[in-house]
């Protein structure tokens, strides 16, 4: 089913990943209506074009996130939900967390 209206979701960043997105930890965004469904794969491309402020290679490598960034959909690891193929639903909360190594 195609999505006629935009898809409202929350994007969050942590562990330093926010530094690449204007140092803002929480973004309320509306993904534009599109043919087919929004997936994390298409979200990443959209983020690269619309939201990433600097040095995209520190966030995206190839079609996925770089090693060391965890993607969490509604507080669950995206691996549990189909990773890049997860179909995004309205009101989803998607958190990108860069893992910390300091101590």
């Amino acid at each position: 089913m195609s999505q006629q209206q935009g898809l409202e979701i929350t994007l969050e960043f942590g562990g330093g990943a926010e530094l690449l997105f204007g140092n803002l930890k929480k973004h309320q965004v509306t993904l534009p209506a599109c043919e087919g469904k929004w997936t994390i794969r298409s979200l990443l491309t959209w983020m690269k074009d619309n939201l990433l402020k600097e040095r995209p290679e520190l966030f995206i490598q190839g079609e996925t996130v770089r090693p060391g960034i965890l993607v969490l959909v509604n507080d669950a690891d995206w691996e549990l939900l189909g990773q890049l193929d997860y179909e995004i639903e309205a009101k989803d909360n998607i958190l990108f967390i860069s893992t910390l190594h300091g101590g």
């Binding site: 562990g15 060391g68 965890l70 910390l100």
Partner: protein, 444 residues
């Protein structure tokens, strides 16, 4: 004035000598007690009068009881890293009556550690972190056996050390040691309580516990080295690793007591800024994991610095991007810029660092901003007003240690190519400046 400062100096020396004497007496006493203890070895897990008086407040918790306290007395926990995470973890584990604590660290106490690594006191600057922490822990509870491993954990020694303990706490500060410790724990079958902290955030999880995932299940590939920030560069508020370190001690105690509810297969995210804890569900153990999977490829420890492309410390090593003629010594900079007022100095550190301490009349332009057209325009305007028709007008670039300044020189040479300037960096950065020219300048 000179008389007074001399007597302060003498007093400080006397106190240092007394401390040294105290240390050796404590060591003697410990040896005596160990001999005594080995004669009455049978009572190791039986609770003594001291134990009961000391631990009564936790023994009376029904889920702990005498049995739980005995389990703790018979247990051993290895803490790798005696820093911002390791100090609070070790403190609470020692306080709780874990019978044997191992400490691993290769480093020495530095003044910049003291705001968060609270087992170390300012008298111990320059002392090995392991012996400094062990001293403080023995003062807390002299009945706990503390084993000191004052060394850099690596592939040659990790298994031997890890195998001696029941639970391992990862309180390290770098990616290579985190992979090393994970693999060593998987190979030896030990649970790993992993914590980390930076700026105002902390993360906590338990790996390799009861068929839960290991570090490699979640992170099969190491992060690119340029994306990893350490506490020295990113900063850290002391109480944040404090929170995570204390929680690591708690998870280790729960594992020793055999409780359910251990943070395995989950990741706890702590935000000091928002005062929130967020508990994330992680993926299950990966059956094709390189180290803990059904057919592991890694069955003995590998070269982790090579695997991660980064050193197993949080210290940045010296870069060498420039030719020698593109670099100046602190002495040359002093003669030219300070004494003769030649050229300009651009300091490429972040503004927070610049505001802490900087050379007089230096201009702050953070490295990141050198990409911006408006920044280059601003530099050109400054040059126009300063250099008149001089040939090879000096543009000195500096930073904290002399790494970012080299990157900046390469950028500036491109963008100021037609300006008739000589762009150089201060070799060794402000650290070298403080050592060679101005000892009152802070080394941080």
């Amino acid at each position: 004035m000179s008389l007074e400062s001399k007597s302060i100096f003498q007093m400080e020396k006397e106190i240092a000598d007394l401390r040294e004497l105290l240390r050796s007496k404590e060591q003697e006493l410990r040896v005596l007690k160990e001999c005594e203890g080995s004669k009455t070895h049978l009572s190791v897990e039986k609770l003594s009068k001291d134990d009961i008086e000391r631990f009564s407040r936790q023994i009376i918790i029904p889920s702990i009881g005498v049995k739980g306290q005995q389990l703790m007395k018979g247990a051993s926990v290895l803490i790798v890293g005696a820093g911002g995470l390791g100090c609070p973890a070790a403190q609470y584990l020692t306080g709780s009556g874990i019978g044997h604590i191992g400490l691993v660290d290769y480093d020495e106490v530095d003044r910049s550690n003291l705001h968060r690594q609270l087992l170390h006191s300012q008298e111990n600057i320059g002392v090995s972190k392991v012996s400094s922490a062990a001293e403080a822990l023995r003062r807390l509870n002299s009945n706990v056996r503390i084993s000191e491993h004052s060394l850099q954990l690596d592939s040659s020694n990790a298994l031997n050390i890890v195998q001696q303990y029941d639970v391992v706490i990862d309180a390290t500060d770098n990616v290579a040691t985190r992979y090393l410790l994970n693999d060593a724990c998987v190979i030896s079958g030990k649970p790993l309580v992993s914590g980390s902290a930076l700026r105002l955030e902390g993360q906590l999880t338990v790996y390799n516990h009861h068929q839960g995932p290991c570090y490699r299940c979640i992170f099969p590939k190491p992060p690119p080295p340029e994306t990893v920030t350490n506490c020295g560069d990113g900063g850290v508020l002391g109480a944040v690793p404090g929170v995570i370190g204390v929680l690591q001690a708690l998870e280790a105690i729960k594992i020793v007591l055999g409780w359910t509810g251990v943070l395995s297969g989950q990741l706890l995210l702590f935000s000091g800024e928002q005062s929130t804890f967020r508990n994330i569900r992680l993926r299950a153990k990966n059956p094709s994991c390189d180290v803990c999977g059904d057919h592991p490829l890694i069955t003995k420890l590998i070269d982790y610095e090579q695997f991660c492309g980064a050193k197993a410390t949080d210290k940045e090593s010296g870069l060498s991007l420039l030719k020698q003629e593109q670099r100046v010594s602190p002495e040359t900079l002093h003669r030219s810029f300070i004494c003769k007022n030649e050229g300009i100095v651009i300091d490429v550190r972040d503004s927070e660092e610049f505001n802490m301490c900087a050379l007089p009349n230096s201009i702050n332009i953070p490295l990141k901003k050198l990409e911006e057209v408006t920044t280059i325009q601003k530099i050109k305007e400054i040059l126009d007003s300063r250099k008149k028709n001089e040939e090879n007008f000096p543009v000195y670039v500096l930073c904290r240690r002399g790494n970012d300044s080299q990157r900046a020189v390469l950028k500036l040479e491109q963008s100021l190519g037609n300006e008739n300037v000589a762009v150089c960096d201060l070799e060794g950065g402000l650290h070298a400046w403080a050592r060679a020219i101005d000892s009152s300048f802070p080394i941080y």
